[in-house]
């Protein structure tokens, strides 16, 4: 039996939910008709779960969620937002306020109880673990914003943590990670190909650029490489050396499944597959998902919107790809200027829609934790 706090100004609805939770669910319901009263009850005796309405006079449900998350005693309890404000923007606002689930009204009693029990079974919120390991950003269609997302995610994490990540640009054809960061790509990895000795943790440091945020960068050469670029064994050696010095590696991969890309994908803990809603990108993504079937478990599908119009909805894309989209990055008109100035939004304007959206990708990019071998 769980203790469930229900906060809703509609007293008839409160009674219906109480009957549902107590008689059908076998839970204990604590009722509050106002946000302030609900918060007080939550502080006095923290519940196992809270169901919160949004449209309430006085303190609205978003504020209730924020306050619950701020207090250590209630910071981890699962929160369901049950509201007549059922639009996508409302779901996003509820999640930003700290909700775990957004259920639009009207809802059937069975569905509500089902969702309550699901959330209770999931247990308390786990604080987001810092990202670690290796994340590879890939799209076989160029121009979909893969580099932009890799750069902004790396900068965001560099500013959040004492332990700085390393961003690696593996493009053989004038990769533009350094360009986006406003850095001159010298040194870059081209000289690594010529090294006759092994690539150790100390050696690799001399090839890295430093960004003012603390982010370190292994840049691609400015002049396109004729041929394959860095050979597979050097890529593996470089990644291995970098792993000794950095808790997180972010790799920006070229738009091709060559030996280098495959080596990086094999070594990645998470693959961020970036797509857009234009037909060429959709086709490339379908093909990539088929080609990388063996990596299914670590692929995260990220829908980027680099232009203002999105011709196909997220739901339609999920039907086409036959899998959920794990992260969404909306169009941000400020991105074009950020790119031109070499000042990424995650560094210069963390409140920009793109920077905020990149921050929301972090939980989705957590690597799948595998059970330890017996």
């Amino acid at each position: 039996m769980a203790r469930i706090l229900v906060i809703d100004d509609n007293t008839d609805l409160l009674q219906m939910i109480r009957l549902l939770l107590e008689e059908r669910g076998g839970h204990e319901a604590i009722l509050a008709a106002e946000g302030e009263d609900g918060l007080r009850k939550a502080m006095e005796n923290p519940p196992d779960l809270a169901i919160v309405d949004i449209m309430m006079p006085g303190m609205n449900g978003y504020e209730v969620c924020r306050r619950l998350r701020q207090e250590p005693a209630t910071a981890d309890i699962p929160i369901i937002v049950l509201t007549a404000r059922g639009q996508e923007i409302d779901r996003r606002t509820a999640m930003e306020a700290g909700a775990d689930l957004h259920i639009p009204k009207p809802v059937t009693m069975s569905e509500l109880l089902e969702r309550v029990n699901e959330l209770l079974a999931r247990g308390k919120r786990q604080p987001a673990a810092p990202l670690g390991g290796t994340i590879a950003f890939l799209s076989l269609r160029g121009g979909v914003g893969t580099t932009t997302l890799a750069v902004n995610l790396s900068l965001l994490l560099a500013q959040q943590s004492e332990q700085k990540p390393c961003l690696i640009d593996l493009s053989p054809s004038s990769g533009n990670v350094a360009l986006q960061l406003g850095l001159r790509p010298d040194p870059n990895w081209s000289a690594l190909a010529l090294l006759s000795t092994g690539i150790g943790a100390e050696t690799i440091q001399t090839y890295l650029l430093s960004h003012p945020s603390g982010l370190r960068v292994l840049a691609a050469p400015f002049v396109p490489i004729v041929g394959e670029g860095l050979p597979r064994d050097k890529v593996l050696a470089a990644l291995s050396a970098l792993r000794h010095s950095f808790p997180l590696l972010v790799i920006d991969l070229p738009s091709i499944l060559n030996e280098v890309t495959m080596a990086a994908l094999e070594n990645a803990d998470t693959i961020a597959l970036v797509t857009t809603a234009d037909p060429a990108s959709i086709q490339a993504t379908i093909g990539t998902l088929q080609a990388l079937k063996g990596f299914q478990e670590k692929i995260r599908l990220i829908l980027n919107q680099p232009v203002s119009r999105q011709p196909v909805s997220r739901q339609a894309l999920e039907r086409i790809f036959r899998r959920p989209i794990d992260g969404l990055v909306p169009f941000d008109p400020a991105q074009a200027q950020a790119l031109a100035r070499g000042k990424p939004l995650a560094y210069t304007n963390p409140d920009a829609p793109l920077a905020k959206a990149v921050a929301t990708l972090v939980p989705a990019l957590q690597p799948v934790r595998r059970a330890a071998a017996p």
């Binding site: 549902l20 007549a84 639009q87 606002t93």
Partner: protein
């Protein structure tokens, strides 16, 4: 206990040129379409209205227990189900001899796509000219903010104020 949590109050998102106003309308006597198209009154009464500016449509900046909205200044209203956007007469009959026509239209700040339910003989131009109702029902509608394409609103029905329509297009089926 299989009932849906619904009452005689309908949750509606109303939009003016600057604000989104969410609230409840008493639809026990008349459907929302009938209320909005009732020419004997220029106002619609809301219960518990929550106001969001259109540049921050998810944020609630004000709450009022019983405001009145001026119908003429409403651009459109979004309701969850198709029947909420139809008049009682339409909702409970006259399915025979009707067809759905996909349309695209613009109102200040928004683009709307969806379907009109029409009788086969109707001339579409009448919808904008001689149609007596001020608010036309766009079914399975999707509204997109013109300057913020990430902001969309969907509903089983959108009641659009004809006087605010800028562009009205019939979408030809491919």
């Amino acid at each position: 206990m299989e009932e849906t949590l619904r009452t005689g109050w309908l949750a509606v998102d109303f939009f003016t040129q600057s604000y989104r106003i969410s609230g409840h309308v008493d639809v026990r006597q008349k459907s929302l379409a009938d209320i909005l198209n009732d020419s004997t009154t220029g106002f619609v009464r809301l219960e518990d209205a929550y106001v969001s500016p259109l540049d921050r449509p998810g944020e609630i900046v004000a709450t009022y227990p019983a405001p009145h909205l001026v119908k003429a200044n409403l651009t459109f209203a979004v309701v969850p189900h198709q029947e909420d956007a139809l008049s009682r007469k339409q909702a409970y009959g006259r399915y025979l001899g009707t067809f759905l026509q996909q349309i695209f239209l613009t109102v200040p700040g928004f683009e709307i796509v969806g379907y009109l339910r029409l009788s086969a003989r109707v001339d579409l131009r009448r919808v904008l000219t001689t149609e007596p109702n001020e608010f036309i029902a766009v079914l399975d509608g999707r509204v997109q903010a013109s300057l913020r394409p990430d902001v969309t609103f969907t509903g089983g029905g959108i009641l659009v104020n004809r006087r605010h329509i800028g562009v009205f297009c019939v979408v030809k089926e491919e």
